[in-house]
């Protein structure tokens, strides 16, 4: 167990270093780029305008930007390690704050979308498995295929057109009361629901083929008992992994959806900072998304033995 945790922590650090340094070197690979962007914000207050050479030179000297990239990355990483992600070029607010302000919006969206996918996807998946090859099964499968193949942005626009523009049932975009949640959650949750449904169906079918289900029947248990006590817990194992990854994905910011619905979350922050060339924010956000993703993975790994006693334990 301890060994396992050590190994995981090692991998954890490695992935963090690789992903952040990759982003760092990419953003800084254009010579003078960083200095130029900084000069724009400091002297002109606008990314659209071009600073003079003297202004760029001044910034370079002031922030010591002629150092090697490696040493710059090192200072960034040390600061990040202590929780200091720098300040936004655009707003001058600490990057950490910029991220934390947007976190609730993203978490709300991700959590509700995942809950929806579990609450709808799992029962439908079980139903489809129990009634394998029936009309119900085919109907569920067809719906799932549709849900998976519809592109996110397309579904978002479709929903906006139908429910807010034509029927005027929901607000179009923005962040506020629960009604604002409906369209983004449905858009985000649809594909996940479909994936959960299909996985639940296939893993339930897989479990129902196992010898221990026959043993349960041999004891005289009825269908319901077999489903609940013998099948569900086994069928859940692959679903947990998938949902964990999906949740990590959503927490990392549903970039497109947050942009379409003007949802003030992490994904939106990333897009905005990229178009503003707000390098510290880009960097901080990427670090944060990676961190979230890995923490989730870590949590799943720790939760796993609860569902599958063969893993971990003694």
């Amino acid at each position: 167990m301890l060994n396992n945790i050590l190994k995981r922590s090692g991998i954890f650090c490695m992935v963090l270093t690789v992903s952040t340094s990759l982003v760092f070197f990419m953003l800084h690979s254009l010579p003078g780029e960083n200095a130029e962007v900084m000069a724009k914000y400091i002297f002109l207050g606008n990314v659209e305008l071009n600073p003079s050479n003297e202004e760029v030179q001044l910034v370079k000297e002031k922030f010591d930007l002629d150092r090697s990239l490696l040493s710059q990355y090192y200072s960034w990483a040390t600061n990040a390690f202590h929780g200091d992600l720098g300040r936004s070029y655009k707003t001058n607010a600490p990057v950490r704050e910029e991220i934390l302000i947007r976190l609730p919006a993203t978490i709300t969206l991700a959590l509700i979308a995942v809950l929806m996918s579990l609450l709808i996807g799992m029962p439908l998946g079980i139903l489809a498995a129990v009634k394998q090859n029936s009309t119900t099964d085919y109907l569920c499968s067809a719906t799932a295929v549709l849900g998976i193949s519809m592109p996110n942005f397309w579904l978002a626009l479709l929903l906006i057109m139908v429910f807010s523009l034509a029927l005027k049932l929901t607000p179009t975009i923005g962040y506020g009361g629960p009604s604002h949640l409906i369209l983004p959650v449905v858009t985000l949750g649809t594909a996940t629901t479909a994936v959960v449904m299909r996985l639940t169906r296939s893993s339930t079918l897989e479990v129902m083929r196992q010898d221990y289900i026959r043993t349960a029947r041999g004891k005289g248990l009825d269908h319901r008992d077999i489903m609940i006590t013998h099948s569900l817990k086994n069928a859940l194992i692959p679903i947990i992994t998938m949902v964990g990854l999906e949740f990590g994905h959503l927490l990392g910011g549903a970039v497109i959806i947050e942009t379409i619905f003007a949802w003030p979350g992490i994904g939106r922050l990333l897009i905005d900072s990229i178009s503003a060339r707000d390098i510290p924010v880009i960097q901080g956000t990427v670090l944060f998304i990676t961190l979230m993703y890995m923490l989730l993975n870590f949590t799943i790994d720790i939760l796993y033995p609860i569902f599958d006693p063969r893993i971990g334990g003694s």
């Binding site: 010898d211 221990y212 026959r214 041999g218 005289g220 248990l221 006693p309 063969r310």
Partner: protein
């Protein structure tokens, strides 16, 4: 008194390759307090035969014939009534305990389930009965072991746990499928001892499936030899060991380690297209011309011994 009588039982699988005739016109009887051994090489249909009795096969199976247990035909019973028989009147000890135990439930819970289902016991009481059962099959420190999962048990202990699960509700008939397979010799001997005691004490009847004749010799009153989905010899255990009548049964006996370990020549026939006439004729040393076309009936060779061979017809 006959407890279970199997009459003209067929179990066929509909597969893409054709119809697999895994059990073909099998008739057998098990008396009260009697242990019948079902032996035969791997793949001859023993497990399918056993699973047919409580209708535990998959849905692509066609089973017909009659399985009369205490006057009722199990094959015609409503699913709900059959559930009342399974695990209570007739217990099935499945082959391969590792895959037959649920990996995510504790062994104790899985043994307590028959109590919960058939005796309506409270969870805590069912649980302590499960611990008792583990003790009965001689698992040391049973209260702790009951809380463990199947993968924490050794092979021998898993087999004991399966036996405990089967015996939970004191069934009248136990179907035990290869209870010693895959265990090393000392453990096998322990399991045999255990089963001997348990049968003696409980007075239950048993259908014991095995490919191990020495196990049958120790536990059974009668033995049926299965070949290619059919019963080819059916005899009292004493008569059988004095001298099997069917050439395949003779070869099978000679193939056991203590009797020369002579392998049977040729390969087991396909169950989709079995050889015409006597199914054993391509491998039989006594094969005659008519064996290729005439399908032999099961005939009495002498008192207490039947064989499906044209030598006796």
């Amino acid at each position: 008194m006959t407890l279970l009588s199997i009459e003209h039982l067929n179990s066929h699988f509909m597969t893409v390759d054709g119809i697999v005739r895994a059990v073909d016109d099998v008739s057998l009887e098990i008396g009260e307090n009697e242990t019948l051994g079902l032996v035969g090489e791997s793949g001859c249909g023993k497990t399918v035969l056993a699973l047919s009795l409580l209708r535990l096969l998959s849905e692509n199976t066609k089973t017909d014939g009659r399985v009369i247990y205490k006057g009722r035909d199990l094959l015609k019973l409503k699913e709900k009534e059959l559930r009342g028989v399974r695990g209570k009147e007739i217990a099935h000890i499945f082959q391969n305990p590792l895959s037959s135990l649920n990996p995510v439930l504790t062994v104790g819970f899985q043994i307590s389930e028959p109590f919960l289902r058939h005796q309506g016991l409270k969870k805590s009481i069912a649980n302590s009965r499960a611990v008792q059962m583990l003790g009965l099959v001689r698992i040391p420190s049973a209260p702790d072991r009951a809380k463990e999962y199947p993968h924490e048990f050794s092979g021998g202990m898993r087999q004991r746990a399966m036996i405990a699960m089967g015996l939970a509700c004191s069934p009248s008939l136990i179907i035990a499928d290869e209870p010693t397979r895959g265990l090393d010799v000392t453990i096998q001997a322990q399991i045999v001892e255990l089963m001997k005691d348990l049968i003696k004490n409980s007075g239950a009847s048993m259908l014991l499936i095995t490919h191990d004749l020495s196990l049958a010799a120790q536990l059974c009153d009668k033995v049926a030899v299965m070949y290619s989905g059919e019963i080819v010899e059916y005899a009292d255990i004493k008569e059988f060991f004095k001298g099997p009548a069917h050439p395949y049964a003779r070869n099978f006996l000679e193939s056991v380690p203590s009797r020369g370990m002579k392998p049977i020549r040729g390969i087991s026939p396909s169950l989709i297209n079995p050889p015409p006439g006597c199914r054993f004729h391509p491998r039989c040393d006594c094969s005659m011309d008519m064996c290729k076309s005439v399908h032999p009936p099961l005939t009495e060779v002498k008192d207490g011994q039947h064989a499906r061979c044209l030598l006796y017809a």
